[in-house]
Each structure stands twice: as structure tokens, then as C-alpha cells.
Symmetry: C2
Subunit: 194 residues, 2 copies
DNA sequence: ATTTTTATTGATTGACCAGTCAATAAACAT
DNA sequence: ATGTTTATTGACTGGTCAATCAATAAAAAT
């Protein structure tokens, strides 16, 4: 039965199945067999393509980060001027593709893993640095030297609201979180945060 | 050898050992045997007093929450007026006893667990509601109807900065986080966040 | 035609671990 | 003295799971 060129198809299926499985259980305590079954293959094949459980999960997070990065860039492309660009960055963090229950569950487990796994820590740092430098880039022309601290506050607020929303029982539309961050952005631009 | 009245001693030792062990590994993926060894007893005894692994961890989080609550109350007792009280609440979240690596690791794992464990979810809700109502109580006299949304932003910022600090490699003194939250508080009080 | 590469899985191994239980013994109660 | 409660553990059980491997087979290359 072997059709050639299956590798990318299988990898993609495993990545999606991993996020689905994490979303279904909430935990990273899932078995390779379950992921493989969800992706329609044997666990041996999953090992064959990824090598091990950690690498499957890291691939899933790399994918999540790629999707997020794409959304940020898409938003920035349409934005005109620093303020519009800042709003685009903030909105991108709460788009429906990043704000789904399963994706949030993956993020939470990713945070936990980042404490003990250097590759996960590295991946997380990439996300954090990118967000920070994106924010600073567009805050600087508006508030100069205060851009750095302001960016830290906004980034912290994004992560915190993301976390809180992920744990809320009611699936509040991401609107609330977005508006909250925009409100703080406004305050930062008015220079009243000190 | 049995000395009587060991139960509270053993329980306390297990709670402390649990947080230490989580801090050492970063994961909740720890064995009862490891915890028990760290606490100087057999795993059977740990099971005897707590019943199961989940219950040991929940007890550890209940303890953490108790310590945190005590610190909030201690801060509030010394504060005079709404603004000083708000500052006390914020400072309490970042005291050295809550801001230790192992405690933060426990929190992260607690967030993950809260997605799938109703008792953990309940415990987390208690923390969140308490923080929110504490903030609203002292924001209301200062900014009236805007207290609710402002409290959500401040609570989100606290959680987000806590999370970010927990994942940073350099153990930045909690000062930075505290100052950031106080800065946003100032902005909220000036009424410029919308 | 046959060798090599790619795809695929069932079965197995080796390790780990949560939870149980029977057994031991000190303290206390009667 | 005898019985009961509390403390304690070594040993065991049942189950789970990551990772490996040998075996099967289709496609591609020679």
C-alpha cells in the first residue's frame, strides 16, 4: 500500500492530532498510541517519523507558533502607522485560531515543559522576543524611551488574559481580552502609566 | 517507634516535599515515592495519609493559597485608604514567598491540572474570585463603575507577569513586576484606560 | 528481474509506578 | 495483661507506556 511522499502528510496529521488530543485531555500526559490512533496510523509510525514523544509535541508547538506568526504578519501588512500596527499585533494574539480551547491547552502545557526542556525553553524565548520587539518597534516612535517598559506590560497583559480566558468555563468571545489590552495600550500612549 | 500525633507533621512534610519536588523537576510528573523519600518516609505512608497523588498535590496548592491569602491580609491590615490597599494587594502577589521558583512551578502545573480536574478548577476559581473582589472593593470608591473592567486588567497583568517571571532564566527580583502593575494601576486611576 | 528505498504495523521488551496489604511495633486504654 | 488505636514499611500486583524490531509490501531504481 505504500504511497510515496507520505512523510509530510503523516507529520501534519500527527501535529493536528497532538493538539486535538491535548485539547481533549488538558494534559500533556497523553500517549503516543492515542495520538497515532487519532491521526489514523500505528504508534510505531509516529515514532518512525518523529523519533519520540517530546519531538512530536515540539513540532506541534512550532506549528502553532508558525500560525501565530503568520497572523501577526497578515495584520501588520494591512496596518498603517505605528498605532494601527500595535493594534494589529494585539488583535493577532486573540484571533479565533489562537484562542481555541485546544490551542490554549497546548500553550499551558508548553509553559510547563519550558521549565525543564531546553528546546521548549528556546522556542518559548523566540515567541517572547518576537512579541517584545514587535511592540517596541511601534511603541518607540510614539513614546520614545518608555517603549521598553510599556512593551513588557502589554506583553504580560496579553499572556495573562490569554491564560485566564483559557481557564474560564464560559467561552467568552476573545473580544473582551482584546479590548482590555487596547485599553491599556491607550493609557500607555497617553503617558499615564508610571 | 510510633510517636503519636504524627499526622499533621507528616502531612506538612509531604506538602513541603511536593512543592520542592515540583520545583526540582518542573513537572507534575513526579512519583509519590520521590515525594515520600524527600519527606523522609515510605510511599505507603504518603498514601495512608493522603489517599492518592492528586490529593497530595491539591493539599500543596491549598497550602500555597493559604500562605498567599495570609500575606494579602497582612498587607491590607497595614494599609490606609483604598489606594494604599490596592498597592498592598498587588505587592502581596509578588512577595518572596509566592515568587519562588518552586512555587511558580507549582502554579503552572496547577493551571494545567485545573483544565481537567474539577477540584483544582474549584480551588483556582476561589483564588481568582478573591483577587477580583479584593480589587473591585477598593477600586470602586476611586473610579466607580469602571472598577470591574479595571480589576480584570490588573488581575490579568498580575497573572501574566507572574507567569513570565517564572519562565525567565534570570531571577529578576520581583520588583520589576510589582512596579509594572503599580504603573498600570496609576493609569487606571487617572481614568485613561479605555 | 532484482535490489533498494519508502511505508507500515503487530508484537515485544523493559521500565516505571500508583495503590494495596499484610505484618510489625509502639503507645494508650481497660 | 489484654485489646485497641496509631504509625510504619517492605513487598507485591496490575497496569501502562515509550521505544524497538523484525516482517510485509508497494514503488522506484538498476
Amino acid at each position: 500500500m505504500p504511497k510515496l511522499g507520505m512523510e509530510p502528510v503523516r507529520r501534519a496529521a500527527l501535529v493536528r492530532a497532538t493538539i486535538d488530543e491535548i485539547g481533549a485531555t488538558g494534559t500533556l500526559d497523553i500517549t503516543v498510541s492515542k495520538i497515532a490512533k487519532r491521526a489514523g496510523m500505528s504508534s510505531a509510525l509516529a515514532h518512525h517519523y518523529f523519533g519520540g514523544k517530546d519531538q512530536i509535541f515540539l513540532a506541534a508547538m512550532r506549528h502553532t507558533l508558525t500560525v501565530y506568526g503568520r497572523e501577526v504578519r497578515a495584520g501588520l501588512a494591512k496596518a498603517d502607522g505605528p498605532k494601527a500596527r500595535l493594534e494589529a499585533i494585539i488583535r493577532a494574539s486573540f484571533t479565533s485560531s489562537n484562542f481555541r480551547r485546544d490551542v490554549i491547552a497546548a500553550w499551558l502545557n508548553f509553559y510547563v515543559l519550558a521549565q525543564s526542556s531546553p528546546p521548549a525553553q528556546r522556542l518559548l524565548s523566540i515567541y517572547q522576543r518576537r512579541l517584545h520587539s514587535n511592540l517596541v518597534h511601534d511603541l518607540r516612535p510614539l513614546i520614545g524611551a518608555r517603549a521598553g517598559p510599556a512593551a513588557q506590560r502589554i506583553a504580560g497583559l496579553i499572556d495573562g488574559l490569554y491564560l485566564r480566558q483559557g481557564l474560564a468555563r464560559d467561552p467568552d468571545p476573545s473580544d473582551g481580552a482584546t479590548r482590555h489590552v487596547l485599553a491599556v495600550l491607550t493609557a500607555e500612549l497617553k503617558g499615564n502609566a508610571q
